[in-house]
Symmetry: C2
Subunit: 225 residues, 2 copies
DNA sequence: TAAAATTAGGACCGTACGGTCCAATGCGCA
DNA sequence: TGCGCATTGGACCGTACGGTCCTAATTTTA
């Protein structure tokens, strides 16, 4: 992959995450990537659409590096990893001051109905994400209730996070995301075997500021039960 | 309010909820509302922006009629109303086959960053929505734990629903929303006083098909406790 | 019946968009 | 030296967009 290509992709990713795909013109991308003109751009990408697809993949890979990688850490208790992952999403959002949304959620809302090509690709991204969480839940299954539905729970986690990011953008208030993240952790804790963690959560209203706390308690409770 | 105006607003609402605001042209609206030409449109609206604002308000009012009205029903137990409301959101989404998203979430994702005028108005819509849920929770406070944070819980409910609708659109699968709705009910049940409802929820995995069930049990448990 | 509001229809404008084409210039590499 | 790729720069095209202006017919209302 040439230098210029990634340069263009980076510039496009920033612009698209700020203004959306439709509202980002090829000329904007050219300016952002400091290209000489359109022919320079079309030397690397055959269309704006193709650029969009590649940006989407690239965004996922970045997200995978920073967020999803946590879900795979083999040395940490799986449920603790899940909490760390939620913290990572919050942290990622903090960097843009709550202004920029999830790069997938944005595109999803903008293009899911209008553009089938994007819809399919975004669906695939969500599926890859969900499958990461599912396999983590599978790993944590000794600690969880027998009737926990990993498919449903993974979807719930993603939906809650996407919705939280959206509301955070609208309100321009990071505390919205922080609050929902903490509640989400409590919801997950609800699925942990025996009552210990379920009673516990009420003493951990400030779970957001103690991200490691809950998960450790989860492990303890599962060992106890 | 003249007949034509509402006709235009209806057509615009449909188009915008299908394609988004940016991708809906004034000419599209004119075709949709069967107007004779642009001058006819601009006779009623001074700009496309103004149209958008009014559509947003109108969408909220419709949503308020069908969905939010349930939250205010004085004769039904408040927590049961909350479950009925969640069912109503699912039903609303079913009508478009899961294709059309929440009219607010769509606009929020599309315009929150790009257009301050819309952002502020969408924020106001969410706030009105959240305040309805807050006052319901206030009404239900004898049944709830003392430490329930109504502001946070109302935000969580809205975020989860918005995220669920978004994912349903992307996957084109209504069962996603149904599953998340059921989980959301369980999350709410988690805030109910004493352990009865919390143990109960595990026997009500199919809460989605028994919307009245949980809430009735909530009332019972709160009476018992 | 006259004034006022609504409907109709079209020409027009400036701008922006995605995309094409072309000609010229560097540039490294065999 | 020559081949091929990267870069530069700009003209150009068709289309679509939001919005204005103007005239005339039709309907409503006082």
């Amino acid at each position: 992959m040439s230098d210029r290509r990634t340069q263009i992709l980076d510039a496009a990713a920033t612009l698209i995450s700020e203004r959306g795909f439709t509202s980002t013109s090829v000329d904007d991308v050219i300016k952002g990537a400091k290209l000489s003109g359109k022919s320079h751009f079309y030397h690397y990408f055959k269309s704006k659409e193709e650029l969009g697809y590649e940006v989407l993949n690239r965004q996922f890979e970045r997200f995978a590096e920073r967020g999803l990688a946590i879900l795979r850490e083999p040395m940490i208790d799986p449920l603790e990893r899940l909490n760390l992952f939620i913290d990572a999403v919050v942290a990622l959002q903090s960097e843009s001051g709550g202004r920029r949304g999830s790069p997938f959620g944005n595109l999803a809302a903008e293009l899911a109905d209008a553009h089938e090509g994007f819809r399919v690709r975004i669906e695939a991204v969500f599926e890859r994400w969900a499958s990461q969480i599912r396999s983590l839940l599978w790993e944590a299954r000794p600690q969880l209730h027998d009737d926990v539905d990993a498919v449903r729970l993974s979807r719930f986690i993603i939906a809650a996070l996407e919705g939280a990011v959206l509301m955070t953008r609208v309100k321009r208030d990071l505390s919205v995301l922080e609050g929902i993240a903490a509640d989400l952790k409590r919801f997950i804790a609800m699925h942990v075997r025996d009552g210990a963690a379920m009673q516990l959560h009420r003493h951990l209203e400030d779970a957001g500021s103690l991200p490691h706390g809950i998960a450790r308690n989860m492990s303890v409770s599962s060992v106890a039960g």
